[in-house]
């Protein structure tokens, strides 16, 4: 695993190096974007259309995500990472919250859910007051900015086995997984986002980024149910240093890890209750 991570950091460095020229190269023309005006979404029982979202996009989204979807809205300059992550550049077609494997496009449902949920620890608001119809159209609108949605199909959502009963053994097993795959390198041994790599993390565009602090009561961006957390580390948050562990963690182990992560979090959970009786020590940072 360690070599894998090293390789991964190298990749990250290379990505950071190429990041800025890459963003400028990704700048598309209005004509190019308009050529995808017939993009559709199929979600929540609706077929979403680009033109039906144009008005809402301009009213609600443009200030951050920009007319061209390139994250150059007028307020983007005031959003300073890592405290305030930059808005998503839709032209790149890279998204954090996916049910699909790392590197693939998200499904319409994923985008729909991201818009509905909003992004904690960022300026991205919760848009759950929109009708489903509005959100379906916005999904089509977000997609039409990126040529990726023409040339590629969304990935196949990963399959998640049913959630087992949480037991003391599973929590302890989850602790072992946390140590083995080295989540602590970034998230810290107590989940407080203070691991040895934490201060050096950058996203693919070269902006500094903070690892998730499990203990401060904030919500994961991609959902806070057990299943969401499972999905987060099995698909990764593309465009960020938060990798996918689909190759390193078996499905059953993944549930164990979810339960262990729950013990860090403020939100009440059965795992947290059980953990009180276990007197678990933080994993060692020097295995």
């Amino acid at each position: 695993m360690r070599t894998r991570l090293h390789k991964w950091f190298l990749l990250l460095g290379a990505a950071a190096f190429f990041a800025l020229p890459l963003t400028s190269r990704a700048q598309l023309t209005t004509e190019d974007i308009a050529s995808r005006d017939n993009m559709e979404s199929h979600v929540a029982g609706y077929t979403g259309h680009v033109q039906d979202a144009a008005y809402d996009y301009r009213r609600y989204c443009v200030g951050c995500h920009g007319d061209m979807g390139d994250a150059n809205g007028e307020v983007a300059q005031w959003l300073l990472p890592p405290m305030w992550p930059k808005p998503r550049n839709f032209q790149l077609g890279v998204f954090k919250c996916r049910s699909t494997p790392t590197g693939t496009l998200p499904t319409d449902d994923d985008l729909f859910n991201a818009i509905t949920r909003g992004f904690d620890r960022s300026a991205m608001p919760i848009w759950n007051q929109f009708t489903k119809y509005q959100r379906a159209n916005l999904v089509a609108y977000v997609k039409h900015f990126s040529p990726r949605f023409v040339t590629e199909k969304p990935g196949t959502p990963i399959s998640i086995p049913p959630e087992p009963e949480v037991t003391p053994e599973r929590i302890k097993a989850g602790r072992e997984v946390f140590a083995r795959v080295q989540c602590w390198k970034c998230h810290g041994v107590q989940g407080m986002a203070n691991g040895p790599s934490a201060s050096t993390l950058q996203d693919d565009l070269g902006f500094p980024i903070a690892a998730f602090n499990f203990t401060d009561g904030t919500r994961p961006k991609c959902g806070d149910t057990d299943e969401d957390i499972y999905r987060i580390f099995m698909t990764g948050l593309d465009g960020t240093p938060m990798p996918s562990f689909a190759d390193n963690i078996k499905p059953d182990e993944a549930w164990d890890l979810v339960f262990y992560l729950r013990t860090f979090m403020q939100q009440p959970s059965k795992a947290k209750e059980i953990a009180k009786t276990l007197n678990l020590k933080p994993v060692s940072a020097n295995p």
């Binding site: 008005y55 305030w84 992004f119 960022s122 608001p125 007051q129």
Partner: protein, 507 residues
């Protein structure tokens, strides 16, 4: 702006039995009360959102803005506490609205002899028009969070001469026990009206208020139940996570927001609302709700030397206003807002008992003297109601249609109808009714028809500041409160209109 004393001033004058050129003067005075409030570039700056994200047009809230407000000016994402803001950020906004307007109203005027210079021969009813540039007051809006889930709002507001009062002062504890269903607010605040008067766009005297929120029968002494005025009290608000379901209950001093316990002290009223929004797909969201405002207020202020003592009110009598609210969206460009009202005041209010201390809400009094004139009646021991007195009852409705061409350009049309169904001076009444005629009041006395239309254009729209250019026209008609007919000697109807051009500045 939106000086809370103004609607009352107007009504108090209406309640005097004969109206003169005072009407016209009042229009000017009342200009200061006709400015809506609450547009906050400070919030837009804090969250990096454009005005249009929260406002259908500034300052009217859309559903996202309503949710933001219901969450205690938070977007609910753990960056709401001020500690996350750049230290130079200060949540303050100011607003002022210079206008040009032409006000025209019917008046009694003297007629002169054509043969004998300077000799007054009688009176006639004439339409008098005045026009010119005018100022609004200045508002300082400051609001936001003190800490996550502790919100505040303070709004010092002035009249055009820069005399200040506190229009809104409130603190709010949000999401108690982590639940959006538990929020408590304390202070002086706008009632939880779905169609907010403080956020309305109209700027003229009669089009800058909702008549339905201020309607009081002619000569009625109950100034306490005005839904449009900010009130003092404590409010509970709850809402679902997506804000589709909203409910509120407020316990209020029955004093129409007047501080220092001068008025209606020892009496309380309650204001309750409920509304539910439904996702209707392509038609957007439809919201239906109801409200009830019910309470008691004093009619007897104990006196010293015959002068009523402030804060000594007893002899409580009851009143209520109930109605439905609806907000119907027909796609992103058109919406229709409806508020109905069924109201009733106790017969004592109907006979002019109520605000016997005659406060104007700003430390002054409504009636001047000695000898005191225009004062409202005091229900001192031994007072009896005249024969034929009965509880005034009325029904009202407000329609507001909006065509939103874009967040920067909006057209709004209002129609309001207030209609008495039972007059305070009923069958058997033998005294002089408010028109000055003997016997029961005419059945249409006090009925209002009000039309308002406006265009509002924002030449730019950013997260930093706002400027709106507005053109507006209002036509107002009320039965029996206008100039005295030289023929009958009784009041005719009030007919007024106003044309207004404004620059609404918000920074």
């Amino acid at each position: 702006m939106h000086d809370f004393s103004c609607p009352r001033l107007r009504k108090a004058f209406h309640s005097a039995t004969s109206l003169t050129a005072a009407n016209l003067v009042l229009m000017f005075v009342a200009l200061t009360c006709s400015q809506p409030a609450n547009a906050i570039p400070a919030f837009a700056r804090k969250y990096g959102l454009r005005c249009s994200a929260c406002h259908e047009t500034w300052p009217i809230l859309n559903n996202f803005g309503l949710k933001f407000r219901d969450n205690g000016y938070q977007i609910m994402n753990d960056r709401d506490a001020p500690i996350w803001q750049n230290p130079s950020y200060w949540p303050i906004t100011f607003r002022i609205t210079p206008v040009w307007h032409r006000v025209s109203a019917s008046n009694d005027v003297d007629t002169y002899s054509t043969t004998a210079p300077g000799v007054i021969t009688g009176t006639a009813i004439q339409q008098i028009s005045s026009s010119g540039v005018d100022l609004s007051g200045l508002d300082f809006h400051t609001g936001g969070t003190l800490e996550k889930n502790i919100s505040f709002f303070v709004l010092p507001s002035s009249d055009p001469t820069a005399a200040f009062h506190f229009e809104t002062v409130m603190a709010r504890f949000d999401n108690l026990f982590g639940s959006p269903w538990l929020n408590i607010k304390l202070g002086r605040f706008e009632l939880n009206n779905l169609l907010s008067e403080k956020r309305m766009v109209g700027l003229t005297d009669e089009g800058g208020i909702y008549q339905t929120y201020h309607f009081i029968p002619v000569a009625d002494g109950n100034i306490f139940g005005q839904m449009g005025d900010n009130q003092l009290g404590i409010e509970y608000v709850g809402h679902s996570y997506d804000d589709r379901t909203r409910i509120s209950a407020a316990l209020l001093d029955s004093n129409d927001g007047n501080v220092n316990l001068t008025l209606g002290a020892n009496s309380y009223s309650g204001f309750f609302t409920f509304d539910q929004a439904i996702d209707t797909g392509k038609w957007d969201v439809q919201r239906l709700g109801a409200y009830a405002f019910a309470g008691e207020a004093a009619t007897y202020y104990r006196t010293l030397g015959g002068v009523p003592i402030a804060g000594s009110g007893i002899g409580n009598k009851s009143f209520y206003r109930i109605g439905f609210t609806g907000q119907f969206y027909f796609g992103p460009h058109f919406d229709l807002n409806v508020v109905t009202q069924h109201g009733q005041d106790n017969a004592w209010f109907g006979q002019g008992y109520g605000n016997a201390v005659n406060t104007d809400g700003n430390g002054g009094t409504l009636c001047s003297g000695p000898p005191l004139t225009n004062c409202l009646a005091n229900n001192t021991p031994g007072t009896t109601l005249p024969i034929g007195s009965q509880a005034p009852v009325w029904n009202g409705v407000t329609f507001e249609a909006r065509y939103v061409y874009s967040p920067q350009l909006i057209f709004i049309a209002d129609y309001e109808l207030e209609k008495m169904s039972q007059q305070a001076d009923g069958p058997g009444f033998t005294g002089l009714n408010p028109t000055g005629a003997p016997g029961p009041s005419p059945s249409n006395l006090g009925n209002i028809n009000n039309y308002n239309a406006l265009i509002r254009y924002n030449p730019f729209m950013t997260s930093r500041a706002g400027l709106a250019i507005q053109l507006e026209y209002t036509l107002f008609h009320q039965n029996g409160t206008g100039p005295v007919s030289p023929i009958t000697g009784f009041s005719t109807s009030t007919n007024s209109n106003e044309l207004l051009f404004a620059l609404d500045i918000d920074y």
